[in-house]
């Protein structure tokens, strides 16, 4: 028999998180701090709207780009949050999670051999999606001393003639790092100078614990060269609904939509009706969840300080990324031993890129009570290590 497989896919490494997942799954009574999704249920009024849409028999396809009503609401949301305008009928599309948007953008924009700049540590899908689209991933190793922000110098250093796209994964999973206005202004100059494009993944934009949020699309000249990705998963606790969206200039969006049309047809209809309600009436829910996350974030940082665990203060998402270098173990060894000794699961930083070595990701998408128990165990573990 001939080899049934293509030449690229078998070469793609499985997600680094997988190995650890198997380990944790065997331990029934473990506390996990390894989850990358909200602990809140989707607000009831959103679920109720979905149920209502089912009762009404709204079970058909929507248009490829998504319900017009939803795209209008997305445009209104971007306008009120960022004061940036997108034309709902030409520049906005609804996708199956933010992840589909990332995949579509890379497929629509890359030619074989084009380089994609991926700041790491970062979410696990940028690299494989780049490779599948024929691109070449080029990593930028972000540094703890910069609080894992991307600097203009770091960006400048990796740009070549083949560089086409910069992925901007902020607020960041796994570090919780954010890019503030001044940080974005610095890198925008480099982006413009070298005429490269940006895919900005702002799925965590509502989970931002500083005063004013800035997106790269707000800076002069950036909207035209940026694919803006967002979604409902993190802001409205809607991960399982699989619903995201993309805002981009028509030139790019039109081609992304073509792929989406043939590969997906349209995002789930029930989820789209739910999302209309979420984006229209969900501001108060977001505020309450954000405030709960913020309290937990402060609680963890204080606990780390008291037990002598080094960690920069992250201002986004729901992760903290403490350093475990002082214990002379790799991230994986630390996570493994901690799990074995105290039955608490954290994710080794290396699951998010090699430069995550020396760190672990701790998620605070858990109740304060659970975090308290887990921090008690972490303190006990660290005492025994020292």
């Amino acid at each position: 028999m001939r080899d049934p497989l293509n030449k690229t896919v078998p070469g793609i490494k499985p997600s680094g998180i997988r190995k650890f997942f198997d380990l944790v799954s065997e331990m029934k009574d473990a506390i996990s701090l390894g989850v990358g999704e909200p602990d809140f249920d989707t607000p009831w009024h959103v679920r109720d709207e979905a149920i209502y849409s089912l009762e009404k028999g709204r079970t058909f396809y929507t248009s490829n780009a998504g319900l017009m009503e939803l795209r209008d609401e997305i445009a209104a949301y971007i306008k009120r949050k960022l004061s940036v305008s997108y034309e709902p009928s030409k520049e906005i599309m609804v996708t199956v999670g933010g992840s589909e948007g990332i995949d579509l953008a890379l497929r629509a924009m890359l030619d074989p051999g084009d380089e994609v700049l991926i700041p790491q540590p970062c979410y696990v899908s940028y690299e494989p999606c780049t490779i599948l689209a024929g691109g070449v991933p080029v990593y930028i190793n972000l540094k703890a001393e910069n609080e894992f922000r991307l600097t203009a110098a770091e960006l400048e250093a990796v740009i070549t003639d083949r560089t086409k796209i910069l992925i901007l994964p902020f607020p960041n999973n796994p570090t919780g790092a954010v890019m503030e206005k001044k940080d974005l202004e610095e890198i925008a100059k480099v982006i413009e100078k070298h005429d490269i494009f940006v895919i900005t993944d702002e799925i965590y934009c509502e989970l931002y614990y500083k005063d004013e949020y800035t997106s790269i699309i707000q800076l002069p000249g950036m909207r035209e060269r940026t694919v803006y990705i967002n979604g409902f998963s993190k802001a409205y606790a809607m991960t399982g609904w699989r619903l995201g969206y993309v805002c981009a200039p028509e030139l790019i969006l039109k081609q992304m939509l073509k792929i989406h049309q043939f590969a997906i047809m349209c995002a789930p209809t029930t989820s789209q009706y739910a999302a209309v309600d979420a984006i229209k009436n969900g501001d108060e829910d977001v505020k309450l969840m954000r405030s709960a996350y913020d309290q937990r974030r402060r609680f963890l940082l204080d606990a780390f300080k008291n037990m002598g665990l080094e960690c920069f203060e992250p201002f986004g998402a729901f992760y903290v990324f403490p350093s475990v270098k002082q214990f002379g173990l790799t991230s994986e060894e630390f996570a493994g031993k901690f799990l074995e000794a105290e039955k608490v699961a954290v994710v080794p930083g290396t699951a998010f890129g090699e430069c995550g070595e020396g760190y672990v990701r701790i998620s605070y998408a858990y109740s304060i009570e659970k975090l308290k128990t887990a921090m008690g165990r972490l303190e006990h573990f660290i005492k025994n290590m020292k």
Binding site: S15, I17, F20, F21, V24, S25, A30, S32, G34, V35, G36, E37, D39, Y123, V124, S125, N173, S291, D294, Q295, R296, R298, F299, D302, A345, V347, A351, F352, I368
Partner: protein
């Protein structure tokens, strides 16, 4: 703003200590302590109670909601009548409300008989009370924002990217 943050946090869990509150709200211990003291003095914080699902204990408890219609004499307001009612320890809450009747009174007792007897002998016989209508609570699903069922298990995958 800090006050509101303190209140919304302790409204859900009044056992959070001052230091933990300070950490969670990004404030200082003494600031939180003095703010809480002030709110207690001002009567903003009126007490620190415990949510109990008495159904799960062996203790007999009966609660009734009673709609009360009253009549007012010249120069007399609802406050005086409400006061005469709320002074009874059996009475757990009294609200002046809009609509078809005037006061909503919650009464707690050990048995239906005990509650009924209170209504008949104490409440209905007050001279301003025109009529009462008693509704016994059969089951509490949710109270003070708390759902009275077992906490649900975390059904998320243990590790996700």
């Amino acid at each position: 703003m800090l006050r509101e943050d303190i209140l919304t946090t302790i409204e859900k869990n009044s056992r959070v200590d001052v230091h933990e509150l300070a950490v969670r709200l990004g404030s200082e211990d003494d600031v939180i302590a003095s703010e809480m003291e002030k709110m207690e003095e001002e009567g903003v914080i009126c007490g620190y109670h415990t949510m109990i699902d008495w159904d799960k204990t062996g203790v007999d408890k009966v609660t009734a909601l009673i709609e009360v219609r009253v009549t007012l004499q010249r120069g007399q307001g609802f406050d005086g009548i409400a006061e005469r009612i709320y002074k009874y320890p059996e009475v757990k809450s009294v609200y002046l409300i809009s609509g078809g009747y005037d006061l909503l009174v919650t009464i707690e007792g050990r048995s239906i008989k005990e509650v009924s007897s209170f209504v008949h002998t104490k409440l209905s016989t007050m001279e301003n009370v025109l009529s009462t209508s008693t509704h016994f609570i059969l089951k509490t699903y949710k109270d003070h924002g708390t759902i009275m069922t077992k906490p649900e298990e975390d059904e998320r995958q243990m590790i996700t990217p």
